[in-house]
């Protein structure tokens, strides 16, 4: 029994079979990596978990209840939180506000008419957000508007926005893309640290260094189908995987 169970998920875009009978079992507390060449359907799969897309057929169960048909905010409130591949942040707001918003959403639920209390009155939210910014190394920039940030910094902010919600299941779509080596390593450390808090993670990555230093299990997706699923050491030598990548990233 996994915390996330994906059964026979299919998704077509017109004639394109983006996902074909995909099955996935993610164990509670584990890190499950999904790898595969560009266009394999990895992001599409995540989109089916968070309500951005609805699979044509199949089921997605989280903690024993279905995620399909839920609104995006309901899925988030259930504890499934996603780090987006292209950072989507609130670009006109400050970094601190960017992190406070998910913190408020976590504490107050999907809606609360908190119209007459000052934001500054909510010290614990601010603390929490500040702490998170420190963890991703952006604390000094907390008052800057986020539109002025570099791509790598945006990813780190994005990460902070998701982590501040103490997710049960964290979906990471290429969390280190566009980051320097040093930043990548820092991110790996950070993700390992929150692993200690028992957070289940699904990681999509092209950087195999990241994959092999984090993952407990790996699913390889190619052209919408899971071709292999195994522990990292078994994946390394797998011929099918080599074939799928064929000139892509080196294992």
């Amino acid at each position: 029994m996994g915390i996330l169970e994906v059964r026979d998920v299919n998704k077509n875009f017109g004639g394109l079979k983006a996902l074909h009978n995909v099955n996935l079992d993610v164990q509670e507390g584990s890190v499950h990596a999904i790898i595969g060449p560009n266009g394999a359907g990895k992001s599409t799969l995540l989109n089916c978990f968070i309500g951005r897309l609805t699979p044509d057929t199949g089921s997605v169960m989280f903690n024993g209840s279905t995620l399909l048909g839920l609104k995006p905010h309901e899925i988030n409130q259930a504890g499934v939180v996603r780090v987006f591949q292209t950072p989507e942040i609130f670009s006109e707001l400050s970094l601190l506000e960017n992190v406070m918003i998910p913190a408020f959403a976590k504490r107050d639920g999907a809606f609360k008419l908190n119209a007459f209390s000052d934001v500054a009155r909510h010290g614990e939210i601010r603390e929490k957000a500040m702490h998170m910014l420190e963890e991703v190394g952006l604390a000094n920039d907390r008052d800057k508007t986020s539109s002025s940030m570099s791509r790598g910094d945006k990813r780190r902010l994005e990460l902070a926005m998701c982590l501040v919600q103490d997710p049960v299941l964290l979906l990471l779509d290429e969390p280190t893309a566009g980051m320097s080596r040093a930043d990548t390593n820092a991110t790996i450390d950070l993700l390992k640290k929150i692993g200690g808090r028992g957070v289940t993670k699904i990681v999509i990555e092209h950087d195999m260094h990241v994959v092999f230093s984090l993952a407990d299990r790996i699913s390889v997706l190619a052209q919408g189908t899971v071709i292999v699923e195994d522990i990292p050491s078994k994946i390394k030598g797998n011929e099918k995987v080599q074939e799928a990548y064929l000139g892509g990233a080196h294992l």
Binding site: I50, R52, K71, P72, H73, N76, Q77, V81, R82, F84, E88, I89, F90, S91, E92, L93, S94, L96, E97, M100, I101, P102, F104, A105, K106, D108, G109, A110, F111, K112, L113, N114, A115, F116, S117, D118, V119, A120, H122, I125, R142, D143, T145, M161, Q165
Partner: protein, 387 residues
Amino acid sequence: MLSLFTKSSEKSDLLLLALFAVVVFAMPIWLAPFGAAYPDLMQRFAIYGIFATGFNILFGLTGYLSFGHAAFLGVGSYTAVWTFKLLGMNPIPAIIAAIIVAGLFALLIGFISLRRSGIYFSILTLAFAQMCYNLAYSVLTPITNGETGLRVLRDDLRLFDAPTVGDGGPLLSHIGGIEMTGMPGFYFAAVLLVIMVGLAMRIFRSPFGMMLKAVKTNQTRLNYTGVNTRPYTLAAFVISGMYAGLAGALLCVIDPLAGAERMQWTASGEVVLMTILGGVGTIIGPILGAALIKYFENIFSAFNDQTLNDIFSFLPDQLQEGFVSVTSLFVGEGWNLSLGILFVIIVVFLPGGVTEGLNRIGRFGLRRLGIGHKSKNEDETSPAPGE
């Protein structure tokens, strides 16, 4: 915009509000040199200030551009006059009833319009307002008195004060015998303006306000952050509708007459212009915009050919005639033309409105003086859209 959360504190806000109150209450003094210190005009400054402040809570924070806010103004007016008719001429029940009824209307219209965003939303609100206007003119005549407009009559029920109002003179709204015209009327509206601005400031600084700003920047992302954006935008819509209802009621407090033309799209456009002209998303901007427009409307529409002839009388006859005929296009009846041109100019050249303009000048001045390019104070008033 940042500064509202990070730099200013609750205390400094109170201070600002106190300062604002002083400026508003002292209008009769400092407006005198501008020839604008008469009650009728100052009342309008305050009332339209409230209207625009409320509009800005929706447009400034969430970015949802409503083109139908005049409907709530009209609903507020009708409700107020009906309260006068039924309960008596005390303004307090009238404004309370107007706020509630306008809020309910906003709830209904907002619930439907907010199912769509962007342009669809603007069109839907415009259509709703036009629909209210049509209804007020035709079918609802028993309630709105159609073209003639709704007014309080001597033989109306007026449960609580029918006997106390004497026979002579027009029927006016009053509290404890003080009639709400002239200066008392202005002060009544001014007190409400200060209260409503205070509330708006709180909303801007609240977690709710922060969510609304996030809606404006990236609504989809906010949904994936676990926030149900629909009730947030609906709440903002209802709140701003209530502001409009209050403004509509106040218009009837100072002059107990409600007409359908108050709901027309031109009126909706006017509040948009006020907000843009002053500066979207700032607290003071919309009030400034409202005052500027009402001030110039007052001055410009007072001109006629006679006054123009006087102005240009120093010119040779031929030139005088030419000047008069050209300028007369823009003043008097033609004031709306000037308004439209102003509208276009502001949107094209200064989308941040007057506050942004002042800010630019300020920044320029500071740089000239060699003082750093970002002072704290200056940042306080700088929130322009797109910044």
